[in-house]
Amino acid sequence: MLIRLELSSAAPIYRQIVNQVKYQIASGMLRPGDRLPSVRELAQRLPANQNTVLKAYDLLAREHLVNRRPGEGSFILDGVSSLKKSARLRQTAEIFGQAAAQCLQSGVSEKEAHDLLDQEFQKLSKGRKGHE
């Protein structure tokens, strides 16, 4: 599992880890049953504080995206986040808000933005199929 920290980002480190794991699940790079590196292992690899990695894994477990089995490790689960729909919509709206602002600033039209979004969906579904 490849995680890259963006040090100039406004997003807290644990949030960056959570988002990248979610992206890799959505794109099929991480499959149900896959084992995540241990907290200590990922912390040393990044490098990042073990408590930060632990917090990211706990959040993923709380959303039922990851199953943490004591003594065995953390495994990707099959399914979507168990967060309430409203919370998931809020998370997504935040990302879309930033994307919409980026479109306006770069002169990307609404039509072009929708096309780009469609392409991203296609890429992700291709990645998922590629593994099956």
Binding site: S8, P12, I13, Q44, L46, P47, A48, N49, N51
Partner: protein
Amino acid sequence: MSNSSPAIQAINLSKKFGSQEVLRGIDLEVPAGSIFGLLGLNGMGKTTLIRTLLGLLRPDGGECRVEGIDPVANPLEARRRIGYMAENPTMYGWMDVGQIIKWVGSFYPTWDPTRAEELRKKMRLDAKVKVGSLSKGQTSRLAILLALAHRPATVILDDPILGLDPIARRDLLRDVIVHLQGQQVTVFFSSHLLYEIEPICDRVAILHHGKIIQTSTVERMKENIRKIVFQSVDAEKLASIPGLLDIQQVDGQYAVTVENFEAARPRIAQLTRDPMEVLALSMDEAFEAYVTGRREVVHV
């Protein structure tokens, strides 16, 4: 971690050099087992604070404890309990790595030669190489080894990444995670490069003009601080926003940075009815707002 007594504690600590007040009432608590970053621009008192905690400088007021020991009364005992890596560690260039490890070890009753040897191998340091011919990265790894092999519960590192190239910096931060956090050692270290050390810190404190102006977990600092861009606002009232860090005027618009958006929100809501933009900040931007922010409207 939270219930045990703090590894380092300072209460109203002050230090003057002549008429210059370098530490002006420092209050600080470093939880046992945490990785704690002391941040500040150069010349703000970081090294003075560290040297005071080690008992190398005598404070003019206030008190401090390290591992429960008062370094003013018992400087030797304090230094035995602490692993210390000085800024630009001066090393004896003519000794080889193996000799300096033995020599430094002779000062510590709790020195563990097996651990020193283990660390030397892990840190890929050749025992036969002269200290003077090590690279900067190797020298700082050696300094960490020397700070660790007497098995201290707390380690103090004075700007360990100063002067290192990006790869050596990452290696050093990784060493901190592997050899220190992995062993539940408390780490207190100073730096002027906030974004570099952010990923490995539990908590940070910002030292500015001899005072701790903020201390918080890294996450909370990032999650609370916000920049608000107003479309229209009565500029004279901006200074009344609680937790104000910075006011900028750009093209007739005002951008205001606040320490805690939720706490400032009610007052902000009174100042304008127009829509406003709320932006999150990177650690560097947050640090900048704390140390160089303008708290009043400047009329150009």
